[in-house]
Point group: C2
Chain length 118, copies 2
């Protein structure tokens, strides 16, 4: 799920402010941030990440919103394709959890390095 078509899964860790990013890096970073550009997905990620045990199952997530199941399913897929979360089926339920490394990569990208005093 992280070697093939899943854009945004392996982002270079250099901060944006350190040096001009090239076109490919910019596309990857933008794709990852696009996954976080919707309030529902931000809340989903936060709900999953802060869930006791670090996992949440879908029905639990759906009931936190005033949206239909397919809509939540769509947003979960966007987050998963961006490499920010992953999931596993256990019997009837599907459990989701965050991929900490992906969040930390994005966090690093936004870091502002101490500016050299030119």
């Amino acid at each position: 799920m992280s070697k093939h078509g899943c854009s945004g899964a392996d982002i270079c860790c250099a901060p944006l402010a350190a040096a001009p990013v090239d076109v490919d890096q910019a596309a990857e970073v933008a794709a990852a941030f696009k996954a976080l550009s919707d309030p529902v997905r931000v809340r989903l990620l936060s709900l999953i990440a802060s869930h006791p045990g670090g996992e949440a199952y879908v029905n639990n997530l759906i009931s936190a919103f005033d949206l239909t199941g397919p809509t939540i399913s769509h947003h979960l897929r966007v987050l998963r394709q961006a490499g920010l979360i992953d999931c596993e089926r256990r019997g009837t339920w599907v459990f989701y959890w965050v991929v900490p490394a992906a969040l930390e990569r994005l966090s690093t990208v936004l870091t502002v390095p101490a500016r050299s005093p030119s």
Copy 2:
């Protein structure tokens, strides 16, 4: 330019993974990330941030892309309304620079706190 209608300018610093964000916080965070969800804007931000002196003027930015002036102007406005950059006119040219605090807030939001070993 950063107190009034500019949504996304003052984001709560708590990491998403620490506790479930409320609806308003999620909207603010998502709005900020939406500004970073386009490859052109990611490159613009990186170009401005890594420019010698921390400032860049528009013509310099336009010539880095295969896009028209109005398009770059549009993207700069999106970044500015998100509070990520700010600008000032000096004679004929307009200079842009990044707002480090805004980037650092977003970076903190993506931090994954050490999970309590429940």
